[in-house]
C-alpha cells in the first residue's frame, strides 16, 4: 500500500491529512494560519498593484495615465485593501494564529471552530470587496468621510462599507480567541511573567480588536443606511453632523494603527533577543508598554481632526495625549536597542529586518510628533508628510516586522530553510527601496503637496519621480521573498527543530509541528528568554 511508505515519515500538521477538504474544514490553528497566509498574500498583491498605478500616475504632474475617477479609486482601494485585508490580519491571523498556542504550550486556540469561522468571514468579506472592485470600485478614500461617502459619491460605497463591516467580525473573533486562549490555555508553569513578549503584544492587540472594531462596524453601517434609507445622521441639511463621522471613524481607526504595529513589535521582541543571544532588556517594561499603547491609543483619535473644526480646548487635550502615547513606543525602541548591548549579535535575515524595523519605526514615530504638535499639524495635515509618516509606521514598521517574522518562523512553518544569502539581499533591497519611496514624501509634503491629488504643480515633480523609482525597487524587494520562499518549499534544506537555538516553546517541538503541537503537554520551569542556557546555533545549518 502506498500509505505504508508515507507512514514511515514523521506525521506533522501538513502531512497529517491530504485533500482540499482537509484544509477547508480544518480546525488546526496552524492550517488556518496558512489559509490566512494565502488569502492575505493575494490581497497584498492586489493592493500593491493599485500602489503601482498611483506611483505611475504621479510620475508626471499632469493627470495623464488614467482619469481622475480611476485615480481616486486606485488610492481608495489601495488603502482599504492594505489596511483591512492585509495589515490588520497580517501578523495576528498568520503568525499569531500559528504561534500563540505553541508559545504557551497549548494544543490549539480556545475555540478552534470559531477560528475557522473567522477565516470564512474574512473570505466572504474579501469576495464582496472583489465584487465591489470588479463592478466599478469605490472612490471615497479609505476614510469614507461623510457627506461625500454618504450623499455624493456615485461609486460602490455600500458594497465596500458592508465588506469592511463583515471583515471586522473576523478581527473581533480572532481577538476574542486570543484573549481567551492566553487566559485559559497556558501550560503548567507558563505564568504571565514567563509569557513570550510576542504573546503579551498580541494580547494587547486583541483587546483593541475587541473594543475598537465594533465601533467602525457600526459607523460603516450608519453610512450604508444613510445612503440606502436616507437617514440623515451625517447630513447637515437635515440636522446631521458630518464631523461626527470622523470622531466615530478615528475612534477605531487610530487604535487600528496599533493593531497593525503592536504585532510587529511582538515579532521584534522575539527576533532581537534570539540573534543577540540575550534575555530581553527590561521584560516588564516591554510587556507593560504594549498594554499602555493599547490603553492610551484609544484616547488620541481627534489628532486626525485638528483642522476639522473641533474646539480649541479639546485639540489641546488630544495633542497632549498624542505625545503621551509616544512614550511607551520609545520605551520599546530603547529596550530593543539595549538588548543588543553586550550581546552576541549575528546578522541573519530576521535580524536585518529587525534592525531595519527599529530604524524605520523610529523615523515613523518621531515624525508622528510633528503631527501631534498642533501648530505644525495645521500645515502638514492632509499633505504627503502624513502619507510618508504613516507609511514609515505601517510599511516600514508593520510590513518589515511581518517579513522578519515570516523568515524567523519559516523553518517552523514549512520545515525548510530558506536561502540565507537571498534573504539578506531581499532585506537590504526592501530597506533601500522603502526609504527612496517614502523619504522624499516628507519633503514634498512640507512643501505643501496635498494628498489624493491626481495632478499637481510641476515644482513637486522631482520628489515624485524619486518616490516612483523607489517604489519599483521596493516591488523587487517584495517579490524576491515570494520566489525564494516558494522555492525553498521544494529545494530548501530540511529545517531542524530549533535552527536558531531560540528559547520559545514553539522551538521545542518538531519542524513542522505535529497536529497537536506537542507530543505531551510541556511543563515550563524556566523564565522567558533564558539565552544563557541555550547553545549557539550551528551556523553551518543556516548557511546554504
Amino acid at each position: 500500500m502506498a500509505t505504508a511508505v508515507i507512514s514511515t515519515e514523521r506525521k506533522n500538521y501538513i502531512n497529517a491529512e491530504y485533500g482540499i477538504r482537509s484544509w477547508l474544514l480544518t480546525t488546526d490553528h496552524k492550517r488556518i494560519a496558512l489559509l490566512y497566509l494565502l488569502s492575505i498574500t493575494f490581497f497584498f498583491f492586489i493592493g500593491g498593484f493599485f500602489a503601482l498605478l498611483i506611483r505611475l500616475e504621479l510620475l508626471t504632474p499632469a493627470g495623464d495615465l488614467m482619469t481622475a475617477d480611476m485615480y481616486n479609486k486606485a488610492f481608495t482601494m489601495h488603502g482599504q485593501i492594505m489596511v483591512f485585508f492585509f495589515l490588520i490580519p497580517s501578523i495576528p491571523a498568520v503568525l499569531g494564529n500559528f504561534l500563540i498556542p505553541m508559545m504557551i504550550g497549548a494544543k490549539d486556540l480556545a475555540f478552534p471552530r470559531i477560528n475557522l469561522l473567522s477565516w470564512y468571514i474574512y473570505v466572504a468579506a474579501g469576495a464582496l470587496y472583489i465584487y465591489c472592485l470588479a463592478t466599478g470600485g469605490v472612490d471615497t478614500g479609505w476614510t469614507f468621510y461623510t457627506p461625500y461617502s454618504s450623499l455624493f459619491s456615485n461609486t460602490r460605497v455600500v458594497e465596500a462599507g458592508l465588506s469592511i463591516f463583515i471583515v471586522g467580525f473576523s478581527s473581533i473573533l480572532t481577538g476574542l480567541n486570543f484573549v481567551v486562549t492566553v487566559h485559559r490555555m497556558r501550560a503548567p508553569g507558563m505564568t504571565w511573567s514567563r509569557l513570550p513578549l510576542f504573546v503579551w503584544s498580541h494580547y494587547a492587540t486583541s483587546i483593541i480588536m475587541l473594543l475598537g472594531t465594533p465601533v467602525i462596524a457600526i459607523t460603516l453601517v450608519l453610512v450604508v443606511l444613510e445612503r440606502t434609507l436616507n437617514l440623515g445622521i451625517f447630513d447637515p441639511s437635515r440636522g446631521g453632523d458630518p464631523v461626527l463621522f470622523q470622531h466615530l471613524f478615528w475612534f477605531y481607526s487610530h487604535p487600528a494603527v496599533y493593531i497593525m504595529i503592536l504585532p510587529s513589535m511582538a515579532v521584534m521582541s522575539e527576533i532581537i533577543p534570539c540573534f543577540s543571544r540575550k534575555r530581553i532588556f527590561g521584560y516588564t517594561f516591554v510587556a507593560m508598554s504594549s498594554i499602555a499603547i493599547a490603553a492610551i491609543g484609544f484616547l488620541v483619535w481627534a489628532h486626525h481632526m485638528f483642522v476639522a473644526g473641533i474646539s480649541l480646548y479639546s485639540a489641546l487635550v488630544f495633542s497632549f495625549l498624542s505625545f503621551l502615547v509616544a512614550v511607551p513606543s520609545a520605551v520599546k525602541v530603547f529596550n530593543w536597542t539595549a538588548t543588543m548591548y553586550k550581546g552576541s549579535v549575528s546578522f541573519s535575515t530576521p535580524m536585518l529586518y529587525a534592525m531595519g524595523f527599529i530604524g524605520l519605526f523610529t523615523i515613523g514615530g518621531l515624525t508622528g510628533l510633528f503631527l501631534a504638535t498642533l501648530g505644525v499639524d495645521v500645515h502638514v495635515h492632509d499633505t504627503y508628510f502624513v502619507i510618508a509618516h504613516f507609511h514609515y509606521v505601517m510599511v516600514g514598521g508593520a510590513v518589515m516586522g511581518y517579513l522578519g517574522g515570516m523568515h524567523f518562523w519559516w523553518p517552523k512553518i514549512s520545515g525548510r530553510m530558506y536561502p540565507e544569502g537571498w534573504g539578506r539581499l531581499a532585506a537590504l533591497i526592501v530597506f533601500i527601496g522603502f526609504n527612496l519611496t517614502f523619504f522624499p514624501q516628507f519633503l514634498v509634503g512640507y512643501l505643501g503637496m496635498p494628498r489624493r491629488y491626481w495632478q499637481y504643480p510641476p515644482e513637486y515633480q522631482v520628489y515624485n519621480v524619486l518616490s516612483t523609482a523607489g517604489a519599483s525597487i521596493l516591488a523587487v524587494g517584495y517579490l524576491l521573498p515570494m520566489v525564494y520562499l516558494l522555492w525553498s518549499l521544494r529545494y530548501g534544506k530540511p529545517a531542524p527543530d530549533n535552527p536558531w537555538q531560540a528559547t520559545g516553546l514553539e522551538w521545542r517541538t518538531a519542524s513542522p509541528p505535529p497536529t497537536f503541537n506537542f507530543d505531551e503537554t510541556p511543563e515550563v520551569t524556566w523564565e522567558a528568554y533564558e539565552y544563557d542556557t541555550m547553545p549557539l546555533p550551528d551556523e553551518v545549518t543556516l548557511e546554504r
Partner: protein, 330 residues
C-alpha cells in the same frame, strides 16, 4: 537656485515664520534622535557581533534607565506640545479688527465674497500686512482651505461656518489648494492667493467693486424676501429687532443664552424653530432651500452691519483713497 528642486516652501505670512522655527526645532530633535538610534545600533552590531570564544553577558534591565528614557523624551515633547499649542491658539484666534472675507466652497471651486462687494472665483486678493479672516462654509461636501505659503489650513464644512485668519507678509501669488478629498476633480480645486501692496490692492478693489457692499446686497435681499415685514427696524414687530444683535448674547425661550454669531444667524434663518428668542412665538418659516450659501452670507453681512462697531470693514485703511493706479497685470 533650486528652480526644479525646491527645498523649503515660501514663507509669506505671520504664522509661517513661527511655524518654520517650530518645525525646525522638531526636525533637529528628531534627526538627533534618529542618528543616535542608528549609530548606537551600528556600534552595538559591530562591537558585539558574534565571535568565537565570546559569550553574551545577560542583563536583566535597569529601572533607572527605564525611568530616564521615559521621562527625558516626555520632557522634550512637552516643549513641542507647548510650542505647537501656542501657535495653534494664535491661529484659532482672529484679531478683532480683521478684514473679513466670506468663502463658499463647492465641488470643485472656491467662491469668495469681500465685504466691500467684490466677488472672486478661485482667486483671493488681499493686501499685505493686514489681518484677514475667512468665514467659510461649503455647499456640498467637506473641503479644506489650504495655503502652504501661509502655513494655514482649515476644513470647510457644509452646514456651519469655520474660520481661518492670516496676515500676509510678502506680496506675491501663492497656491491655494483644497486639502480634503472632495471627489473627482479634488486636485483641480486649486486657485491662488494674490498678496498686493495696499495701494495696488486699493486700485484692484476700485476696479473690481460692483454697485454695493456685501451688506448692501444683503439689505436688498432682506427686503426682497420680505424679512422686514416681521423684523422691523426700530420698533418691535412679530420678530425680534435685529439691530445690535450680532455678537451679543441672546436670551432664548428655553432659558438658555447664546451668542449671536454667524452660526446662530445661519441656523435662525434655515431652522428658525431650533433656537427661538425669548418672548417670541416660533412662527418664522424656514428658508432652507430658498436662499443659497452666498445669499446667506449677504444676509449675515447685513445683520452684522446693524450692530455697532461692526467687524470687517475698512479693509483698505492706510491706503490712499480714490486716486490709486489700476491693478498690475496678474
Amino acid at each position: 537656485m533650486f528652480d526644479n528642486l525646491p527645498l523649503w516652501p515660501t514663507a509669506a505670512s505671520s504664522h509661517a515664520r513661527y511655524e518654520d522655527w517650530l518645525f525646525l526645532f522638531l526636525t533637529v530633535v528628531s534627526a538627533a534622535m534618529t542618528v543616535l538610534i542608528f549609530v548606537v545600533i551600528a556600534i552595538f552590531a559591530m562591537k558585539f557581533r558574534r565571535r568565537h570564544g565570546r559569550e553574551a553577558t545577560q542583563i536583566e534591565g535597569s529601572l533607572l534607565l527605564e525611568i530616564g528614557w521615559s521621562v527625558a523624551p516626555l520632557g522634550v515633547m512637552m516643549l513641542m506640545f507647548v510650542g505647537g499649542a501656542v501657535l495653534y491658539f494664535v491661529m484659532r484666534t482672529p484679531p478683532r479688527d480683521s478684514a473679513q472675507v466670506y468663502v463658499v466652497a463647492k465641488q470643485w471651486m472656491w467662491k469668495l465674497q469681500h465685504m466691500e462687494g467684490p466677488r472672486e472665483i478661485n482667486q483671493l486678493h488681499v493686501p499685505v500686512d493686514r489681518d484677514v479672516e475667512l468665514i467659510m462654509t461649503s455647499q456640498d461636501v467637506i473641503h479644506s482651505f489650504y495655503v502652504p505659503a501661509f502655513r494655514v489650513k482649515q476644513d470647510v464644512i457644509p452646514g456651519r461656518y469655520t474660520t481661518l485668519w492670516f496676515r500676509a507678509t510678502r506680496p506675491g501669488t501663492y497656491h491655494l489648494f483644497c486639502a480634503q478629498f472632495c471627489g473627482t476633480m479634488h486636485s483641480g480645486m486649486i486657485g491662488e492667493v494674490v498678496v498686493m501692496e495696499p495701494r495696488d490692492y486699493q486700485a484692484w478693489m476700485l476696479n473690481a467693486a460692483p454697485s454695493g457692499t456685501l451688506a448692501q446686497s444683503g439689505m436688498t435681499l432682506f427686503q426682497q424676501l420680505g424679512c422686514n415685514t416681521c423684523h422691523v427696524s426700530e420698533t418691535q414687530g412679530r420678530g425680534p429687532v435685529l439691530k445690535g444683535v450680532f455678537g451679543n448674547p441672546v436670551q432664548l425661550d428655553d432659558g438658555r443664552t447664546v451668542i449671536a454669531d454667524e452660526n446662530y444667524i445661519r441656523e435662525s434663518i434655515l431652522v428658525p424653530a431650533a433656537k427661538v428668542v425669548s418672548g417670541f412665538k416660533p412662527i418664522m418659516p424656514s428658508w432652507q432651500g430658498q436662499v443659497n450659501e452666498e445669499q446667506l452670507n449677504e444676509l449675515i453681512a447685513y445683520i452684522k452691519s446693524l450692530s455697532p462697531a461692526p467687524a470687517g470693514e475698512a479693509v483698505t485703511s492706510g491706503a490712499p483713497g480714490g486716486t490709486a493706479p489700476p491693478p498690475p497685470a496678474q
